[in-house]
Structures are given as structure tokens and as C-alpha cells.
């Protein structure tokens, strides 16, 4: 009786939203929340192509330095106020502070000018090929559009407290129980595009009156709840529970998206033992992604050990130059590297089963190739502060941590989190290589796919010499949901418009 009662979609998200501000950082849960509540100028469609979303039309000047954007007519915030160019400019400015593409855009001298209520321009000091990629990016932080009053008043380092949004759903702040429940209702002021929904683009029609995110800390409990229909969707099912999920009646088990996460071993490249590039290289030979995956999944379709710095589904994916796993070579290389016996400190975030399993495998592997190890158990919070330490390993530093950031950031070289080799500014581990940086910078200027592919391969070959980190594998997240749902989309971020009950 959909007519009589309010239709509710209950979801167990993959985690809790830490801060309700998708622009604050790269927390993927905050981004997922953002997609519920906010809209974007551009968005990736099902084929990862960039499509206009809030933008009706746009034009580029012939020198490629000035972009003019016109918003769709009649766009409104959830409080009913019209969305103006001013709101968009404020939002983009706020976003650009914390986003690496945004920062690059700003270093290219980006300035925004409001033309009229629906039109604004973006001018750059020099042409930069990634403007649309940046505005349509799906990796956190995403350039969502929020009211100017909120974006201007809240520094990009503080979570917003006014949840007025531009997206298909409205957040119910009153019902929010942080750590337990988030509730959304259909945003009556939202006008979806006319096209059918595709990926993160197209018509974002909220077909359910209400969406609730119910945080269930225990995986088993969550699956039971799904089986009993207490929830409709269970995001990020632990791989070990897949057989049980498959046995559960009325439930479908499927990949959440095709991009997956980029499981990797992050190395501290500035302190012994891994400041020695020879040892890092030895690790390239030692790590067999399949072995690591085997420690966490039984079903081979759920992960792929593609030997590349780019995720398996990336158009730039190439195995060029990547060595085949070979323990003997690795051992030899360590022996020849002049390794001084400094133990490698592995940070083990024990509350995360995946990380813990990988650390355990890595630990055994390192020992096998002749590197002393020390596993330090801690919680993820401690890892996040510990990995910032540049001290030597015996003074509170670290050598290895395992991480699985969303694959979106590993698709192409410019936004590539792992390959960034700009020393201090690089991601933890601080790889430092001017060549890679130069090539990454020039990548943005290329527009031809083949040229780009060639450059991406060159970057990979160079990275195989500097070894900024060790990619392990691409692992897919599993989503289980009740069979009576239809219209579930599979973009790189889980979104819940277009979903309805059959």
C-alpha cells in the first residue's frame, strides 16, 4: 500500500558520517551524505563520462581560459530559496580549499565572476584541461553546491551546521542521532533533470518519501536485520559473510560499484628502512595481490590484483613495467640493498578486519624476504595521527600502513593520491620526485586520450623506479539488498534516488 503509508527506505551505510560536511575532507561517508543532500554542477554518468547536472549549458573561450556556466532554470534550495550563481561561487571557493584538484585550479589563477543570477564565469590565468573533471569529480571532497550564506560563513575547516541543501533529499537534523541514525525526506523543492538517472548524473528522482541510514556496528546483526526486512540495503558487506548472505532468502548480493577501492601498502619513504629505494623495489617483487586478497575473500570476483598504479577499471590501467611476484628476487634484492636491520614498524588498525588481515600477511611477507618487523596494534584513530609522524621508527614513527581509499582517486595521474610525489605535500609517506610531479602537471594539458594513456604509462614506469607505495589490489565492495527494490544505481558513490519498491 504505497499510496497509504509513507514509503521508507532503510539503509545500513558502510560507516558513520563523522562530520556532516562533504567539503571538509576526503571522508567518503561525508561524500555519500553529500550526494543525498546536495547537487553538483557536473556529474559522472554510468560510463564515468562527465555530464552537466545543475548546469544547463556552458561554453569555453577559444583560448580555453574562460568558462561560462549557466544554471538550469528554477533550481531551488531545500528551504525554497532560489539557487543563484553567487551560491555556486561561494560553494566552489569553499570546496577548492580542501581539494587537490581545486587547489590546482586555484594555482592556475581561477577567479569566479557572477554574471547574473544564473550565469557565472570561471577565468584561468592559463588553460587547464581538468576544469570539468574537477567540477564533476566524484571522489571526496566533491564540489557540492550549498547556500552562499552557509559557505561564506563556515570556514572550510569547520563542519557546517546549516544543512540546507540543493539535492534530491533533505536532511532531518531533528532526527539525527549521530552514530546511530540519519533521516532524509524527499526535497519538495528539487527539480530533477529530465534524462533518466545514470550513475551520478541524470534525473535524480527521489522515489521514496523517506530514507533512513541506520548504523549497525555489528556486521552479522546487520545481515540478520536485512534478512528479516528490518533494513532494505546493507552496504559494504564483509566478504566473509557473502556465503551467508547468498543463503538468505529475499536478498540480492551484488557489487556496490565497479571501481572498488585501491588497497595498498603505504611506505614511509623518508625514514629507514624504506627510505632505501632498493628495499621498496624489493617489495614490488614480494607483494602478490592474490595472496593478500586470499586473506580476505574467498570469491575471486570480488577483487582483482591488477599490477598497476591505476585501478583496474581505469582507462589508463596498464601493467607496463610491473614486475611479476617473485620472492626469490625480492630476497636477493633485500640482501643486496644494504639493509641495516632496522625493523619495519607496521601500523595495524585492528578494528578493521581487512587492514588487520593485510598487515598480518605483509608482516609474514616482510619477514620472509629478510626484513625485520614490528607490528603495532592500535585503532584507526591512532593510525591517523601516528602516520603523520616523521620521526624515525624507533621514536614513534612508522614504516608501513595499509589503506584502501576509494578507487576514484586512483583513476588518472593528476588526482592520483598515491602517486603524488611532491615531498612534504604528498600523502603520508612523503614520496619525493620532481619527474613524476612534472609529468602529472603536464597531464592536465593533454586532451587526447592516447596521449594521456602514453603519459600515464610513462608516469607508471617512473613510479616503478621511485616506488612511492605498493599497490596491492582493487577490491570491490559488496552491497546486499532486499529483492523488492528496483532502480538501484551503481555509481562510484552509493546513491539512493531512483530506488523504489516493486
Amino acid at each position: 500500500g504505497a499510496a497509504s503509508a509513507e514509503s521508507i527506505l532503510r539503509i545500513k551505510p558502510s560507516g558513520d558520517v563523522k562530520a556532516l560536511d562533504p567539503m571538509l575532507g576526503s571522508d567518503s561517508m561525508a561524500r555519500n551524505y553529500g550526494y543525498m543532500v546536495y547537487d553538483t554542477l557536473f556529474a559522472l554518468d554510468a560510463d564515468l563520462k562527465i555530464q552537466p547536472q545543475m548546469v544547463e549549458k556552458w561554453a569555453t573561450s577559444s583560448d580555453g581560459k574562460i568558462y561560462t556556466f549557466t544554471l538550469r532554470d528554477g533550481l531551488k534550495f531545500s528551504d525554497g530559496a532560489p539557487i543563484t550563481a553567487k551560491d555556486v561561487i561561494s560553494s566552489l571557493k569553499r570546496w577548492s580549499v580542501n581539494d587537490s584538484l581545486g587547489q590546482q585550479m586555484m594555482t592556475n589563477g581561477a577567479t569566479f565572476v557572477e554574471v547574473d543570477n544564473r550565469t557565472f564565469t570561471l577565468s584561468l590565468s592559463k588553460p587547464w584541461g581538468l576544469v570539468l573533471d574537477a567540477l564533476g569529480k566524484a571522489g571526496a571532497p566533491v564540489p557540492f553546491i550549498m547556500p552562499a550564506r552557509v559557505a561564506d560563513a563556515t570556514p572550510p575547516t569547520t563542519p557546517v551546521t546549516d544543512y540546507t541543501g540543493s539535492g534530491p533529499f533533505m536532511f532531518l537534523a531533528k532526527e539525527w542521532v549521530p552514530g546511530a541514525k540519519l533521516a532524509f525526506v524527499r526535497n519538495p523543492n528539487y527539480t530533477p533533470r529530465a534524462e533518466p538517472a545514470s550513475g551520478l548524473a541524470g534525473g535524480k528522482t527521489a522515489k521514496m518519501d523517506r530514507v533512513e541510514w541506520v548504523i549497525i556496528p555489528d556486521q552479522q546483526t546487520a545481515l540478520d536485520a536485512l534478512g528479516k526486512g528490518e533494513i532494505d540495503i546493507n552496504e559494504d558487506l564483509s566478504a566473509d559473510l557473502i556465503p551467508l548472505a547468498k543463503e538468505t532468502k529475499g536478498v540480492t548480493v551484488a557489487k556496490q560499484d565497479d571501481i572498488g577501492v585501491a588497497q595498498q601498502i603505504r611506505l614511509n619513504t623518508i625514514k629507514p628502512p624504506f627510505n632505501n629505494v632498493k628495499i621498496r623495489e624489493a617489495l614490488l617483487y614480494a607483494v602478490n595481490g592474490d595472496d593478500f586478497l586470499a586473506a580476505v575473500i574467498s570469491d575471486p570476483s570480488l577483487g582483482k590484483a591488477c599490477k598497476s598504479f591505476y585501478t583496474c577499471s581505469s582507462p589508463y590501467h596498464t601493467e607496463a613495467g610491473f614486475p611479476s611476484p617473485d620472492l626469490e628476487t625480492a630476497k636477493k634484492m633485500v640482501a643486496e640493498s644494504g639493509y641495516d636491520g632496522t625493523p619495519a614498524v607496521l601500523l595495524d588498525a585492528t578494528e578493521n578486519a581487512n587492514i588487520h588481515a593485510f598487515v598480518t600477511v605483509a608482516d609474514q611477507l616482510l619477514q620472509e624476504i629478510g626484513i625485520k618487523t614490528k607490528v603495532e596494534a592500535m585503532d584507526w584513530a591512532t593510525v591517523t595521527s601516528r602516520r603523520a609522524s616523521k620521526e624515525p621508527v624507533d621514536a614513534g614513527g612508522w614504516s608501513i600502513f595499509i589503506s584502501g581509499p576509494g578507487g576514484l582517486d586512483f583513476l588518472e595521474p593528476v588526482g592520483h593520491l598515491g602517486l603524488r610525489s611532491n615531498c612534504e605535500k604528498a600523502w603520508f609517506g612523503w614520496p619525493c620526485d620532481a619527474d613524476i610531479e612534472a609529468m602529472r602537471a603536464s597531464f592536465a594539458d593533454l586532451t587526447n586520450l592516447d596521449e594521456r594513456k602514453a603519459l600515464a604509462e610513462k608516469i607508471q614506469l617512473r613510479a616503478l623506479q621511485t616506488v612511492p607505495y605498493i599497490p596491492i589490489a582493487t577490491q570491490y565492495q559488496i552491497r546486499t539488498y532486499r529483492n523488492d527494490l528496483s532502480g538501484l544505481l551503481t555509481p562510484p558513490a552509493p546513491v539512493y534516488w531512483n530506488v523504489e519498491r516493486k
Partner: protein
């Protein structure tokens, strides 16, 4: 004409061992199981045939078989070996916490009970410590100092010892009222000497009993801490840790939780039985009831 003979059939004469067993079945049962567990822990190296840390991803999640008696976990480690080695952590944590909490409790409790001036301060501090639930204190401590067996022991000891302290203080206050303490004062004993010679030995009975309860509580808390991922580092096999790692698979592979749970329960049961038995055996009233 005068009736004689006993109204109770005279009890068969038994050896000393048999008498002890009959009188204190709980001590015997508890002590027996505990001894077995201690043996398992000490002889883990020889009992467990497979290195408990050896991962073998291809053999992950095996059901119990002749090769892997308790099956394998998700990293392919032999659960039997891990459970056997796990005895070490649980027993170590249990005993060490019991000892630490007892020593701390005795020190503070005796001081508070014997010296009026310290009493107020110490008891307020104990109140303070007690008002934070042990598990929270332990989680916070673990977050602060990091996960290691030593830190688990430290955290649980800090959480548990105030109870011991209160018990000791109460005992001291009641023992102080005993005439033999006045007798000792009249015999010229100084306060420290009285504490050591007269008060301390007479607190030991209840303290020992309480220590067994602390020991069992510590083992359970260790498991709970491991269970919520704030306990001993998972690289060291502990029963709680094994259960934590296996909890996700509880419905498909219940044995991962069940085996360590049974071992843990048995051990805690044993310690509790021992405590109950000791309490009955040491209770002076029980003795005077003939």
C-alpha cells in the same frame, strides 16, 4: 533399658584426600579445571602442533577436521593452536590482574583502614575510579597507551582494584574492633607492625576469595575488550581476540566463537568455583558450624 546408638549412621572412614574431596567438591573441581588450563597454557608449545601465527590464506575458514581440530580462521591459522596459545593470555591477564589489584587494593585499603587521615582521601579517590565503568576505563586506557598485554593488565587492574581496596578497608575497620588488636597494642606493638602481623593475615581469606572473582572478571573483561577491538593486539592469540575475529562468521562458522568461548567459560567457571569453595572453606562461621 537406656537407649544408646547414634541417630546418624556413622560415616565411613575416608582417607584425607577423599574427605577433602567430599567436603570441598567445588575447590577440587575448580582447582582441577584450572590446573588443566594452566597446563595447557604452559605446555602450549607441545600441545599445539601448528604455529598459531602461521597464516595460510588458501586454508582459510576450514571446518574442524582431523588436520585442524577446531578448523581454521579467516587467515587460515589453526584455531586449535590459537585457542591453546590463547590460554596463555587469558590466564596471564587473569592472574596478573588478580595479583596487581590485590597488591594495590591491600596497600590502599590497609592504609585507609588503619590511618583515619588517609581514609577520606583514599576512599574518595576509589569512589572516583569506581564511578567509571571498568570497561570504559579500560577502553580509554587502551586508547591512551596502546594495545599490549601489559597495558590490558594495567587497564583492568586500575579498573578493578578500587573494589578490593574497599573490601580491605572494610575488613580492617572490623578487625580493628577485635579485642586482639587492643591486646596487641597493649603488648607494645606499633601500628605498622599491627597492620602487618595482625590485620593483614586476617584479611587474607576474604581477599583471596575476592581475588579469584577479580581474576575471573579480568578474563571476561579481557575478552570483552578484545571483542570490541580494544584489547590485546590481535597478533597475540587470545580467546577474546579469536572470538572478535570470528564474530562476523558466527552464524556460518559458530565454532570459531564456540571453542574459545567454551575454554573461556570453563576457565572462568573454574576460578569462580574455586572462589566459592574457598569462601565456604575460609568462612569462620562455616567452621564453627562444625
Amino acid at each position: 533399658m537406656i537407649a544408646t546408638g547414634d541417630l546418624f549412621p556413622s560415616e565411613p572412614k575416608r582417607g584425607r584426600v577423599a574427605t577433602f574431596v567430599r567436603r570441598h567438591p567445588t575447590i577440587v573441581a575448580g582447582g582441577g579445571i584450572l590446573l588443566l588450563m594452566v597446563l595447557i597454557a604452559v605446555l602450549a608449545q607441545w600441545i599445539a602442533t601448528i604455529n598459531p601465527d602461521k597464516i595460510a590464506p588458501i586454508k582459510r575458514n576450514r571446518e574442524p577436521t582431523a588436520e585442524f581440530w577446531f578448523g581454521t580462521d579467516m587467515l587460515g591459522r589453526d584455531l586449535f593452536s590459537r585457542v591453546v596459545y590463547g590460554a596463555r593470555v587469558s590466564l596471564l591477564v587473569g592472574f596478573a590482574v588478580a595479583v596487581c589489584a590485590t597488591v594495590l587494593g591491600l596497600l590502599t585499603g590497609l592504609a585507609a583502614g588503619a590511618y583515619r587521615k588517609l581514609d577520606m582521601v583514599i576512599m574518595r579517590l576509589m569512589d572516583g575510579l569506581m564511578s567509571v565503568p571498568p570497561i570504559l576505563l579500560a577502553i580509554a586506557l587502551m586508547a591512551a597507551v596502546g594495545g599490549s598485554v601489559f597495558n590490558v593488565i594495567l587497564a583492568i587492574s586500575i579498573a578493578e582494584f578500587p573494589r578490593m581496596s574497599r573490601l580491605v578497608r572494610g575488613l580492617v575497620l572490623s578487625i580493628r574492633e577485635q579485642a586482639y588488636i587492643d591486646g596487641a597494642i597493649a603488648s607494645g606493638s606499633s601500628m605498622p607492625k599491627i597492620i602487618v602481623k595482625h590485620i593483614l593475615p586476617n584479611t587474607l581469606g576474604p581477599v583471596m576469595v575476592q581475588a579469584t572473582y577479580i581474576c575471573s572478571a579480568a578474563m571476561i573483561t579481557e575478552a570483552a575488550l578484545s571483542f570490541i577491538g580494544a584489547g590485546t593486539p590481535p597478533s597475540i592469540p587470545s580467546w577474546g581476540g579469536i572470538m572478535n575475529e570470528g564474530r562476523m562468521l558466527w552464524q556460518i562458522k559458530p565454532y570459531i566463537i564456540l571453542f574459545p568461548a567454551v575454554f573461556l567459560s570453563l576457565t572462568v567457571l573454574a576460578v569462580n568455583l574455586l572462589g566459592d569453595g574457598l569462601r565456604d572453606a575460609l568462612d569462620p562461621r562455616a567452621a564453627s558450624r562444625i
